[in-house]
Amino acid sequence: MSLALIAALPFLGALLPGLLIRAGRNACATVTGLVTAFALLGVLLHAPAVMRGEVVTARLEWLPALGLNANFFLDGLGLLFAGLILGIGLLIILYARFYLSTKDPMGQFYTYLLLFQGAMVGIVLSDNILLLLIFWELTSLSSFLLIGFWKHLPEGRQGARMALTVTGAGGLAMIAGMLILGNIVGSYDLTVILQNKELIQGSDWYLPALVLILIGAFTKSAQFPFHFWLPHAMAAPTPVSAYLHSATMVKAGLFLMARMWPVLAGTPEWFYIVATTGLITMIMAAKIAFFKDDLKALLAFSTVSHLGLITMLLGFGTAEAATVAVFHIINHATFKAALFMSAGIVDHEAHTRDIKRLGGLRHLMPITFTIVCVAALSMAGIPPLNGFLSKEMMLEETVHTVWLGNHWVMPALATLGAMFSVAYSFRLIAHTFLGPVRTDYPSKPHDPGFGMWAAPAILAVLVVAIGVMPMTMVGDLVRTTASAVIGGEAEVYISHWHGFVPALWLSVFAVGSGFVLLGLHRPFEAMWLSTPRPEAKAIFDAILEPFAMAAQAITDRLHDGSLARYLAVATLAILAVGYYAFESGVHSSGTRTLTIIEPVAAVGWLLLIGATASLFNYHRNRLLALVLVGVIGLMVSVGFVYLSAPDLALTQISVEVATVMLLLLALNFLPKDSPVESTAGRRGRDGMIAAAAGIGIGALIYALMMRDFAFPTIADYHLANSKPGGGGTNVVNVILVDFRGYDTFGEITVLGIAGLVIFALVEGLLRGGAANDRLLAWVPDQKRAGDRHPLMLVVATRMILPIALMVGVYIFLRGHNEPGGGFIAGLVVAIATIMQYMASGFGWAAARQRIDYHALIGWGVTIAGLCGIGSWFAARPFMTSSFGYFKLPFIEKFELATAAIFDLGVFLTVVGAVMLALASISRIAIRAGETVNIEPYDIQPDEEQTEGAR
C-alpha cells in the first residue's frame, strides 16, 4: 500500500463515521476501526522491508514552485510511530465505543479522531518538512476539536482554546524554523536535509532555526515552560486524553526531535537547551503529579514528566541515549495508555476521578486494579516491567553526562525525578485501589464489560511481555528505530541485570525514597497547598485576556465610527507620502512664464476666494452654505469660460444648479443648521490639516503649470484628427463621444446607476420602518408661506419651458461642432423640467405627464451601448464612429454621425437619472404628508368669488 494512501486513509475515512452514525453506534465504531486497521495493515506490510533497513518512499508532486511536495517515507522511526498511532488508535476506538454515552454525538467524535489520526500519521510519514508542517498544524486543529468535544463544558472550550493557542503558536514558530532550515539546505525534503549536518550546523542561521523548531517541539510535547496546557486538555473525554496525551500528540514533539536529531543534535546549543529543558520538565512535572488528586491530572503531569525524560535523553546527543529514548517511547506508550483508559474506567464507574473520594476499589474492580497495578508499577520502574528497563538505562546515561563541567548534577536530579515518579505511581495504586471499601462513592463502582477493559488489558500484557523479554519483543524494533534516529547503526542491548552499576544504586534509591515520600504525602501536601504557586490557567488568562481586551480597546478606539477622524488620518497620510515623494525626488524649477493677470480675472478670483472664505465662515447656516456653493460654482464656470473651456463652463453651471436643487430638496428634511460640536482645539487642528492640504495641492498644480514637460501630449493628435477622423470641430466633444467615448459610456452608466440606487433607497425607506414612521409623523420645522405655486411663475414657465427645451435640442445638436452635447442638453432639459416642477409642483406635473424615468435610463444606456455594438457589423471595434454629410432636396447639407446616436443615449440617461432622483425625493415629501394640488396655481383670479370651493 502506498504511503500516500496510508496517510490519506484516515482523512478519507473521516467522512464515514459522520455518515454512518445513522446506521448505529456499532456500525460507526466498526467502520472507524476498519479504516484504522486497514491503515495499520498497510504500515505493517512495509514492516519487513523497513526492518531490513530499507526506506519505503512515495513521492507526489504538489507545489514544486515552493518545494512543497507530498513526499512520504517510512523508516524505522516512522514505522514505530505509525504503529503506535494506529495500533493504540485501534484500541482507543474500541474503548471509546463503550465509553461515550448515548447523548454524545459519536459520529462526530470518530470523525475528529480519524482526522487527528491522519494528521499524526502524516507527520511521521512526511519526507518534506513543509508537508510535515501541514500535518503538524492539523494535529493542533483536530485536537482542538477533540478537546472541545464536550462543547457545553466551559473547561472543555477553554482547554481546547489553550491547547490550540500554545501548540498553534509553537507550530508557527516551527514554520519559521523549518523555512530557515530549508533555506540553508536549499530543499525542503527531509531526506536531503538529513544529509546536510555540516551545512546546517555551520550556518549562521542554525541557532535561530534550532530555537524555532524546538519551540514547536516543546509546545507540542508540553515541555517546560509550555507544559501548562496539557492538564487543561484533560477536560476532553478520556479516550481523547488517552490517545492524545499518551501515545500520539504529545509524542509528536519527541518524534520531531528524534527526526531532526541527525542534523540538529550533537552541538552544545542542542545539549544545553534540550537536555536541560527535559530535565527540568521531568522533575517539575513529577512533583506536581505527586500532589494531584484528579486521576487524569496526575496522569497528565506524569506524562509531561516522562516526555521530559525522553527529551532529556534525546538532548544528550549520544547514540546510546537516543536508543534509550526510543525504548522508553515504546514503554511509556504502553503503560500510559493503559493507565489513562483505566482512569477512564474508574471515572465511568465511580463517577469521580478524585483520588480523595476513592480508595478500596481493589475489591470492587479487580480487573481494573490488576491492569493499573501492572502499568503503574512499570511507570514507577519496578522490575521486571518494561518501565524499569528503560528507566535504569536512562539513569545509566545520566551518569555519563557532564553538565556545565559538573558530573553529579544530571544523575542526582534525574534520580530526584525518578523518586517522584515512584511516589505518584504508588500513590495511584494505593490511594485509589487499596484501603477499605468506602460507602460514599458517587456511584457504586464495579468492573465494566469486556469491551471497555479489553484495550487496557492488552496493553498491560504488552507491558509485562516487553518487560520480561525485551529483546524478543522489541529488540529489533528499537534497533531499527534508533538507527533511523541516529542516522547510523544503533546497538541495542537491553537487559535486566548490568551488574552493580551506579544506575542500579540510583534506581534502588529512587524506589526507596519514593516509598518514603508517599508515606509523607499528607504533611507534604499540607506544605504544597500552603505554598502559593502559579496556576496555569490563571497565568494564561492573565496573559491572553488583557491582550484580548487591549485588542478590543485598540480596535474600537481605532475604528470608532468617526468619519472625521478617518478622513483626517487619511489626509495626513496622503500629505505625508506626497511630501516624502516630492522631497526625495529631483525637481527642476519652472520653465514657463506666468500668464498675465487681467483685472477682470483678478476680480473673478477675488469673488471665488471671497465666497470660499465665506463658506468656511458660514457653513453652519446650511441654506447660506448652499448659496455660497452656488456662487463658487458660478465663479468656477466663469473661470472655465475665461480660460477657453466653454463646454466645461456649460456643464459645470448646469451640474451645479442641479446639485444645489437636490441639496435644497434634501435640506427640507434635514436640520437647517449645523451646531458647533467640535472643540476649538479640534477645529484648529482640522484647520491646520485643511491648510496643509490646500497648500500642498495648490503648490502641486502651480509647479505643474509652471513647467514644460519633455513629451508632447496626445491631445495634439486629437486636435489634428477631430475633424477629419471624428467629423466634429468641437474637439472636446469629439473626444467625449468618439476618441474616449468608452469613458463616456462608463460615465453615463454611473449616472444611471445613481438614479437606480436612489430609487431603490427611497423604495426601501418608504416600505416601512423608522424612516416611514418618521415621515408619517412629519411636521415641517420652518414656517411655511402661503401661495405654494405663485401665479407669475406658473405663467412665465409656460413660455420658458418650451424655449428651454428648444435650447436643449439646440445644444444637443450643435455639440459636435460647437460647445454643447448630449450631457449639457440633458441637464438643460432636466433643469427646465425642474422649473416646471417648481412652478406647479412635482405631483401635479407628474400626474399630467407620466414619464417612465427608469425607461429613460434603461434606454439611454442601451442606446449608447447598442450604438457602440453597431460598429461590430462593420467589422470594427466597439464604438467606432462613422459620419457622413447628406443633402436632401431644398435643404442645405447636413451632417449625420453615429456619435450623435451615442450622444442621444447620454442625453436620455442624464434626464432619466435627474428626474428619477427628483421623483424619489418627491415621494418622500408625499409620504411626509405633502399634498398634490389639482390646479396649476393657488390663486384663481379668473374664478368667481361666489363660487367658493370646488
Binding site: L667, S722, V732, I921
Partner: protein
C-alpha cells in the same frame, strides 16, 4: 494667472477638506462638492492655462488649449454629480432612519461648552 488658479485650487481644497472633517452629513457633502470643484479646476489647469483659445477647430487658428483635460474634467464632473446625488439621498435616508444627521457611527461627543460655542 497661474498664481490665481493655484491659490484658488488650494483654497477650495482647504475648504473642502475642512468641511469633510465635520461631524454632520450636510457639511461633509458640501465639502465633497468643494473638493470636486477643486479637482476639476486642478485637472483643467494641469493641461495649462490658455485664454481665448478654445479647442474648437477653426480655419485660422491662433492655437488651441488642451482639449483632453477638458474632456477628462467633463467626465469627472458628471461622475461626481451622480455620486453627490447619491450621497445626498443616502444622507437623507440615514437621517430619516435614525433621526439624526451625524455622519459618525457611534460618535456622540458632547457639544462644546458655551465658551467654545461662540464662534
Amino acid at each position: 494667472m497661474e498664481l490665481l488658479v493655484a491659490s484658488a485650487v488650494g483654497l477650495m481644497t482647504a475648504c473642502g477638506v475642512y468641511l469633510i472633517l465635520r461631524k454632520r452629513t450636510f457639511p461633509v457633502i458640501v465639502g465633497l462638492a468643494m473638493l470636486s470643484y477643486a479637482v476639476n479646476v486642478f485637472i483643467f489647469a494641469s493641461g495649462r492655462l490658455a485664454i481665448g483659445l478654445p479647442a474648437i477647430i477653426t480655419k485660422h487658428p491662433e492655437g488651441y488649449t488642451d482639449p483632453l483635460t477638458q474632456a477628462l474634467v467633463l467626465t469627472a464632473i458628471v461622475i461626481s454629480f451622480g455620486m453627490t446625488a447619491l450621497i445626498v439621498m443616502m444622507a437623507l435616508g440615514a437621517f430619516l432612519e435614525t433621526g439624526d444627521d451625524y455622519i459618525g457611527m457611534e460618535e456622540r461627543e458632547q457639544p462644546a461648552g458655551p465658551k467654545e460655542g461662540a464662534e
